[in-house]
Symmetry: C2
Subunit: 803 residues, 2 copies
């Protein structure tokens, strides 16, 4: 374990220390100014109430520490010409990130209206947390940021995501001790088991123990150094401690700690890269920085402790606009930084301080990795048609859709192996989800020991498996945000674990898309499989199709939902998703053997439209409206719908049935609400204006109602889907429990089509009897009746089967 | 740090070792039988294909380890008369839990059909993962379980939740090494900072490193003992290692380890409880058990490694029904346990083995703590009316709703202090959410060091704050499931972090309610505050009202959604929720100063109905239908609706407006879909059948459409809510950005009421101009126009203000 060198040994000269301290003070000054000031930015006149913002919004407590780290990283970058980005875990310390990018010049380059002069500084202050201005957190608007940090817990996974496949990149990551209490962050420390020093860049975690959250001490902040040391040695790190509150001492300690850390990192990387022998997982350095919360701010306000306590968390002096004593205290605080010694009369940072930060793209606010779209290269994709399942007759061959997709992904992996810009994430489920063909092209990355009998583990694997959806999601976000591509396959039910991370990423994308300087990044692609209808062996806890409901809450520009009914449609959809950018694509598809419906040509036409009538499946008569529309979205609902059609065709040959299949769920929405929505005319032509629509849907039924509620025939929509009924049972019993099975669908047709209730009363009874028979059979035999599990579509695809 | 005693020092006699091993073999035998056998349960005849289940579903890999632990805990309980429950983190090892509760007799007591004889064993085997039988996981159906474990990560928080305020309880918690990779579990180890050895029970974590997940080694499984030791010392534990694969050696090691652990726990507790000096956070013991995955199962199948590898995870021998070699292998495996030495000719566990487990309620399957409703005592509640805000005129006083609630909760805390059965959870937000009156009654629990300047921290505090929604939720679940009560207040946006935990708890409740022997437990009560409309200072990342959408997906019996519009309604709702059981109640209410509408009497009447016309707010004329219904749900939408009504009343005095306020969102659903739903007649009488309804709703608008889509007037519902627009701005600008403000609402009335588009064209333009004016004003001044933020309802409450 390394400790920071004693102060005397630091390479930091006394002169440089003074400069560094002034630079830090400048950042602190600008941070306080953003929180408080409307005007009088340079304090050229006494501070008056009207200079103060009417609403004081921002977080001071974490900010001086963030500024301290930023200033020291600047020095390190410049000294060693490092390629470094800064992940600000306590993203609510936004004023610090803005202050630093302003000081280094990147802010004014991106936002020329905020110049590097007195007027620019005034605008910089005014815009912060101000209507029409910028948000209070490190946001997409903040140069150099790939991390908002409003929802705590994801700093370190984002940092690792950025470092993967970026061998020359160093990702400095400040982890707050509040954030360190979260589950995702606590697991993130194990990311070092997946980072290959020969191939990947490095992450330098800086655990910032300022001791307090909003109103409490932090758990890690109150742990002893001894426990902290054990904990991080256990996580596989060598902690270097920097502790104190006296700035000169702290500058020396921090400079030495960073030098020590970077030298250790470079040693690790050199050893891993010189080709001598195998790479062992190294003990990576990390820094534990204990500094006071609200450091350099007011020690007390109204007799209550502020610096070094949680009262420094947000706005330490509450009402300077109305309280003259507080106004004076604020002025004293701000003048304690000696602004006149930091900025010249024009409001420019003094030359000797301007000389401190790195130049050009080495500035952390200008590093292209933090605006990943700048570096993004298009993914090379094979022709998805080459992987097509041959479908001579609809329903005739069985295939496992995800297994077919695995072959496609294998070759995506191969074609982009040189570019090193594609990874597949999954919580220990790549093989379980039957994507195992990818292991022909690569392995799972694994930096722990590998035993002779291990299978598809390698230090240079490109599949990332860990039993944490949080880590999969966070790594992928960091990877995408730095300009690369990826694919996340997940059990459908457990993707809810990352609901909140999805939310935050969607919010990031929404804001980013409105910023012209932020270049588009690759979409986040989910494959949700091992889905609700085929978790019959794991049971109820594994049965939840509700993630797509959450997704549908987000802005239409951002989200897409796909339910390919078979392997060929899945191929088309996956190919399409991998070509998109700035989106979140959710694909729901099963992994079990299932009938195939469309030839590749038919699949392409169908998916391109996103929705369509399957004329070969229905029994329409040219020129006449159908009696009923049987719609379906999802592989299992499509199967049950076609089986129901088969039942009805046999018994009610004159019934005019139309079958509509929906791949792209957003087509159901009106055009005005979603760019993929189809027009009302087209919708009405497909679903009719008044005929019953029996809609078999993969998930919770209301989503279909929600998407179609303003369509003419919404009263006619009868949706069946998951009704929150499930257990460990047979596949067919699962659909029966939720009344999504062929019998219930056919019965609903009888109930809804005028006249059939009487005309087909006997058939209805037969169908009800068969449901009883099914129940008796499975309770006796433990598996579905052969006539159900072996059912095949008997009619071919008719005229349109030429694709 | 303690190590297991060398084998020779164990108190385990050679005779007892042999018995213990036989008991373990019996559990293993029953586990394998459940996975495989339909019949021939005792292997009295050669195993034949027809004895094998057609579908083999279950998880073997973790099960022998779980059985090993269970057998040893039985010994410990009996030896020392311990009150202990067993949390099975790898809940998919369900066969083990079932086997053990069957062996100890609890299973047959609860399910008399599954007797303790040959026929009972046959049924026990057959029902497992079989239609009409039991699920494959440790489920509500499993005696002694409070933890399903299908979604991994929550074992340890559940264990701590169970231990709080149960000083005599010992919670043994097996944490799988797969689960240990998850975020929530990684953070859960810090729970020991919140456990008071004087007041609470103890948790004994048993980290089961069997080395593998579904298809990978585990991160912790491949870490060295040295790293594991550091990690857990860092977490504040003293690890005791039990490692190996030779059963006799392992029995001795495990027995010694458990004895050592229990003695250490008892020492800690005695020292904390004898009243000598202050309690320091102790180093609690834990056990690290390294044993082979699929221990005692087949070593190899088809030449591939199975025992001690991930291939043992589910069903190690795949197709014994169709593969005679595999059938033979299975038979060998099962006979290796020597069933004839374990069970007598009647199929009963042999007497000497029946003597091993504890008796009665000491059996872990029969411990009442694992069926918490048995122990639940009603919460003592003060009269909520005593906390009422006086409302002489509607809208006249301002109050912070959650602050008022805080006073009520303070007294709930006081009244139940002796019973020690009520806790409040919050992620560092109790004060931020303005519930700080509770600190007059208790403090935050904190077992780390406490400084003189700390505020409301104490070792015996009953408020639990940690910056992890996962921990708050998990602790509370464990606390409720063992028969106590609680309240979880959370920032609205970040409750999504526990979406998935909510799902699992809702599923648990749904299944439990159908089991007569499971007694009702207290409801899980959420207060979602710091909500979307008043996160103007933290911005977009803190703005998401979508949790209720997820909640609405669950079974109607389980979930309730409340949107009290002011303090008095919040009091009524909170009181109501604390009286309910087996539910999940979500209350959404703001913390900011806001107008108060209803007297306590009015509030009680209104909340009791859940929905109602506010006659004092509208401008109806007796006997005539209104021209428009202005409906609202949520505090901010109610405010904006009434302000819009005020605008309209001034300018269009002849317009007949009806105001409907919704507190209980489920009233909107049809009666058939939710027990709180109102009848169609009542609904139509309130909302009319054809008049426009302008519905201002707190969250994403579609939820209102979804709940009302089958109502007569659903075409007339025009819902406004959160449209995913937000940033750091003023409170009123937030509603404007989402077009939920008074001006947009009034404009929608003009647009929707026939004739008004022309008649009130001028007014519409005036309103549009005022929106422009608002924008200019806030961009200039940074705060809302006084006329907006100071707006007051000018009309009183008319005739009905007598409550």
């Amino acid at each position: 374990m390394e400790q920071a060198l004693p102060a005397g040994n630091s390479a930091l000269s006394d002169d440089h220390l003074v400069l560094l301290d002034r630079y830090w003070r400048a950042a602190n000054y600008l941070s306080v100014g953003q929180i408080y000031l409307l005007d009088n930015a340079l304090l050229r006149e006494p501070l008056r109430a009207e200079h103060i913002k009417p609403r004081l919004l921002g977080h001071w407590g974490t900010t001086p520490g963030l500024n301290f780290v930023y200033a020291h990283l600047n020095r390190l970058i410049k000294q060693r010409d490092l390629d470094m980005i800064y992940i600000c875990g306590p993203g609510h310390g936004g004023p610090g990130m803005v202050a630093n990018t302003y000081l280094e010049g990147t802010y004014s380059e991106i936002y020329p209206d905020i110049g590097r002069d007195a007027d620019g500084m005034r605008k910089l202050f005014r815009q912060f947390s101000f209507p029409g201005g910028i948000p209070s957190h490190a946001a997409p608007e903040t140069p150099g940021s790939i991390h908002e940090g409003g929802e705590l817990g994801y700093a370190l996974v984002h940092a690792y995501g950025a470092a993967f496949d970026n061998p020359d990149l160093l990702v400095a990551c400040v982890v707050g001790d509040g954030e360190a209490e979260t589950g995702p962050l606590a697991a993130s420390w194990h990311s070092n088991k997946f980072l290959n020093p020969a191939r990947d860049g490095a992450v330098l975690p800086i655990l910032h123990l300022n001791g307090y959250k909003i109103a409490n001490p932090t758990v890690l902040g109150r742990m002893t150094d001894d426990e902290i040391r054990h904990l991080f040695l256990g996580y596989g790190h060598e902690p270097i401690f920097v502790e104190g509150d006296d700035p000169p001492v702290m500058h020396r300690l921090m400079a030495a700690a960073l030098e020590s850390a970077i030298e250790r990192i470079q040693t690790i990387q050199n050893e891993a890269r010189d080709g001598r022998g195998s790479v062992q997982r190294p003990k990576w350095p990390m820094i534990v920085l204990r500094s006071p919360k609200g450091w350099t701010g007011p020690k007390e306000v109204d007799g209550l402790r502020v610096e070094g306590f949680w009262r420094a968390h947000q706005v330490p002096i509450a009402d300077p606009r109305s309280n003259p004593d507080h106004l004076k205290l604020l002025e004293q605080w701000m003048r304690s930084y000696q602004p006149e010694a930091l900025f010249d009369s024009a409001g420019q940072l003094r030359d000797e301080l301007q000389a401190l930060p790195p130049r050009g793209a080495r500035r952390m606010g200008a590093n292209p990795h933090a605006n990943g779209g700048l570096l993004k290269r298009e993914l090379i994709l094979p022709d998805y048609r080459d992987y097509a399942v041959k479908v001579p007759h609809a329903g005739a061959p069985e295939a496992e859709a995800t297994r077919v997709l695995g072959e496609f992904l294998r070759d995506v992996m191969r074609l982009n192996a040189k570019a090193r810009n594609f990874r597949i994430m999954g919580p220990d489920e790549t093989a379980s989800n039957r994507l195992d063909a990818v292991f022909e092209a690569t392995d799972r990355v694994w930096m722990e020991g590998i035993e002779p009998y291990d299978v598809h583990l390698a230090q240079d694997g490109r599949v990332m498996e860990v039993l944490s959806e949080h880590l999969c999601q966070g790594w992928l976000e960091g990877y995408l945000l730095t300009g690369r591509h990826g694919f996340f396959s997940c059990y459908e039910a457990f993707v809810h674990i990352v609901d909140s991370m999805f939310n935050q990423h969607a919010k990031w994308l929404k804001v980013s898309r409105a910023l012209p300087w932020r270049r588009p990044i690759a979409s986040l692609n989910y494959l949700l499989t091992s889905h609700v209808w085929r978790q019959d062996h794991n049971g109820f806890s594994h049965q939840d199709p509700g993630f797509v409901d959450l997704v549908a809450n987000k802005k239409a520009d951002i989200v897409r939902l796909y339910f390919p009914p078979d392997a060929n449609t899945l191929l088309w959809v996956a190919d399409h998703c991998l070509r998109t950018y700035d989106r979140i694509n959710v694909i729901v598809a099963g992994k079990q053997p299932a009938p195939q419906w469309l030839t590749m040509g038919q699949a392409a036409t169908h998916c391109d439209a996103g929705i369509g009538i399957w004329p070969w499946a229905g029994t329409e008569v040219g020129g006449l409206e159908p009696d009923v529309v049987m719609a379906c979205a999802g592989d299992v609902p499509t199967l049950e719908t076609l089986a129901a059609v088969d039942l009805l065709r046999r018994e009610l040959p004159d019934l005019r049935i139309r079958v509509v299949n929906v791949v792209d769920l957003m087509t159901l929405q009106p055009k005005e609400q979603h760019p993929h929505g189809i027009g009302d005319k087209e919708f009405d032509a497909m679903f009719t204006c008044d005929k019953p629509v029996i809609f078999a849907y993969h998930g919770y039924p209301h989503l279909i109602h929600r998407l179609t509620y303003s369509r003419a025939n919404h009263d006619g929509m009868h949706v069946r889907g998951f009704a929150e009924e499930g257990t460990t049972t047979t596949p067919f019993d699962m659909v029966v429990l939720n009344e999504l099975d062929r019998f219930h669908l056919a019965i609903e047709v009888i109930d809804r089509v005028p006249g059939l209730a009487t005309a087909a009363a006997h058939l209805k009874q037969v169908l009800l009897d068969r449901l009883q028979e099914h129940r008796r059979y499975i309770c006796a035999h433990g598996e579905d009746m052969p006539e159900i599990s072996n059912w095949k579509w008997p009619y071919g695809t008719g005229a349109s089967d030429g694709g």
